[in-house]
């Protein structure tokens, strides 16, 4: 077996273990150093994975583990998210008891994501997801001293386990109906499987599990509570890595295993997307807690991404991948700022951000860029992602009016989102009553994280060509058969 395909995963695991072990010998005062070490390690891994280390396409573990353009695409972003989260966490190394464990767990979760990106079998998918989920149970409740963190942990635990239960049950059905759990093999016989209700139910239950990860309606309930309660760095990771992993698997299942059924269910996905957008956007309007707001925003964004999945086309998949790329940078930029502010003010209320524009122009810029990008306004990454998504959806409006509805709902969602995102911006620049105007000093790591993300957001907004091209290749690598709409387009 070709273990070289797993180099990144293996190295990442070793890094995690190393960090954990190093903690045993390091004095308590040097804990902070571990964050830097971990971050540096991840950074090296990232350059390795993007550069020379990117393995050639291939499969391992009997087809369970696949390396292709898509897995490489996601792995880059997972490592990037891990890097930024680790950088952010250095800011809170004092408040997180057992900081070394925190770093190690973050890396372990990242390993789960890396495996998820390569999973080509329901078994590996399950294991990778559980690796992510179980580590997140701990990461979410890491601030054991805070009731909110514990409560969020328990809620995530119960609902996560529930989702796992459904998913496992679904996998059992799939296995029963298809007699295999490998995506390629399922894809080969999807025509007959599509007639099997057992298979369809099993597939749906599996998708439910993924829906939980991406916080799509109606499996979104955990998101606001957990986002709010968890430590900010965890929330950031949850919103980026965990969500992206969910989408990586969703795309693989939907287009790698059962593309025809996905096309058949596109209206279901579309409907879920529409409802998710509306739910997330509407609920976010009255929010005062910025982290909770980000929870609802995350729901709404899941809705947008679902529209891209529902388009069930090359452009749709490309859009989802590009969107996720920009989204990761954007959200990380936002949370890097939120993390600092929450740490300093011990509040995540909007009023805690009052006059941030004067207290720390860098943080204010970072959060503004994040909010504006989330709202989908050029020249930031969020805009381009939304543009591609809407474009993918619009390709269908000639054939199905529901896509037109989705398009309009997406517009409404964006307008609603401007309302709440810009509310945060307003609080930073012209607060109703700002009492505290003392400058906020920002540590080097956070500074680096914010700058990195902001530059990324701008770069992907202005020069998204490389990203889009990679995304297109990645998605095309799933061997998605051209859908009716694309055949139609090509014929014109």
């Amino acid at each position: 077996m070709n273990y070289s395909l797993l180099t990144v995963e293996i190295l990442a695991t070793l890094l995690g273990v190393g960090v954990l072990l190093a903690d045993l010998w390091l004095p308590a005062s040097a804990r902070k150093l571990l964050g830097y070490v971990a971050a540096t390690g991840v950074a090296i891994l990232l350059t390795y994975a993007l550069g020379s280390g990117a393995p050639a396409d291939g499969t391992a573990f009997g087809g369970m583990f696949v390396v292709d353009a898509m897995s490489n695409y996601f792995k880059g972003f997972f490592l990037l998210a891990t890097l930024v989260v680790l950088l952010m966490s250095i800011e809170s190394s004092e408040t997180l008891v057992g900081y070394a464990e925190y770093c190690a767990l973050t890396i372990f979760a990242a390993v789960g994501m890396l495996f998820a990106a390569s999973a080509n079998d329901f078994i590996l998918m399950f294991v990778a997801l559980e690796l992510i989920t179980v580590t997140f149970y701990i990461l979410v409740s890491f601030s054991r001293g805070r009731l909110g963190s514990l409560e969020a942990g328990v809620k995530y635990l119960i609902l996560g386990a529930l989702a796992s239960g459904f998913m496992v049950f679904g996998i059992a059905f799939i296995f029963g109906a298809a007699n295999t759990t490998n995506f390629y093999e399922i894809a080969a016989k999807q025509a007959e499987l599509a007639k099997s209700p057992i298979f369809l139910v099993g597939l749906l239950l599996t998708v439910v599990g993924l829906g939980f990860k991406i916080a799509a309606f109606p499996f979104q309930m955990w998101a606001p509570d957990v986002y709010q309660g968890a430590p900010s760095t965890t929330t950031a990771f949850l919103a980026t890595g965990s969500k992206a992993a969910g989408f990586a698997l969703l795309l693989r299942v939907a287009f790698g295993a059962v593309p025809d059924i996905t096309a058949h269910w596109s209206r279901l996905l579309l409907g879920l997307g529409i409802v998710t957008i509306l739910y997330g956007s509407l609920c976010a309007i009255p929010q005062r807690s910025v982290k909770r707001l980000m929870g609802y925003s995350s729901i709404a964004n899941a809705g947008y991404l679902l529209l891209g999945v529902a388009a069930a086309s090359l452009s749709g998949g490309t859009a989802v991948l590009s969107y996720l790329g920009g989204y990761i940078f954007t959200v990380l930029a936002g949370f890097a700022v939120i993390n600092v502010v929450v740490n300093r003010t011990e509040s995540d209320d909007v009023s805690a951000f009052a006059a941030l524009g004067q207290r720390s122009p860098l943080l204010a810029t970072g959060l503004t860029v994040a909010m504006v990008s989330l709202a989908g306004i050029p020249p930031l990454a969020g805009f381009f992602g939304k543009f591609l998504l809407l474009k993918a959806v619009a390709a269908h409006i000639g054939t199905d009016k529901m896509f037109l509805l989705a398009l309009l709902v997406a517009c409404v969602g964006v307008v609603l989102s401007i309302y709440y995102y810009f509310g945060v911006v307003r609080a930073m620049f012209w607060p109703r009553n700002a009492t505290d105007l003392t400058p906020i000093a920002v540590g080097g790591a956070t500074r680096l994280a914010v700058v990195l993300c902001v530059v990324g957001v701008f770069y992907l907004g202005i020069c998204p060509n490389a990203l889009v091209k990679t995304a297109k290749q990645a998605f095309a690598g799933l061997n998605v058969p051209a859908t009716a709409a694309e055949v139609h387009t090509a014929a014109k």
């Binding site: 329901f122 942990g153 386990a161 496992v168 049950f169 059905f173 029963g176 007699n179």
Partner: protein, 105 residues
Amino acid sequence: MSAMIQAGLQHYLIVSVLLFSLGLFGVLARRNLIVIYMGLELMLNAANLALVAFSHFNANLNGQVMVFFIITVAAAEVAVGLALIVALYRKRSTAHVEDLTSLKY
């Protein structure tokens, strides 16, 4: 032997679904976190049962392999979960879900 009903796939599946439903009911109806967690384990085991049954009737050992994975994962989950619930109990002296509503709306 002939008097005995030959246990077919659907019998296993029915049991499995019943088990799953019981577990789900436990999750939905019970207030105590520990009990809810037991319900969740029941759901996982229902899946295990179904997998084993399918594995047997499909003559494919992969299902059994999957079961091992599930058991392992469930163990890990239980370890983390119970630790969490204990930590919560220490903090709040309660393991009832309705007491856990500081994060809402």
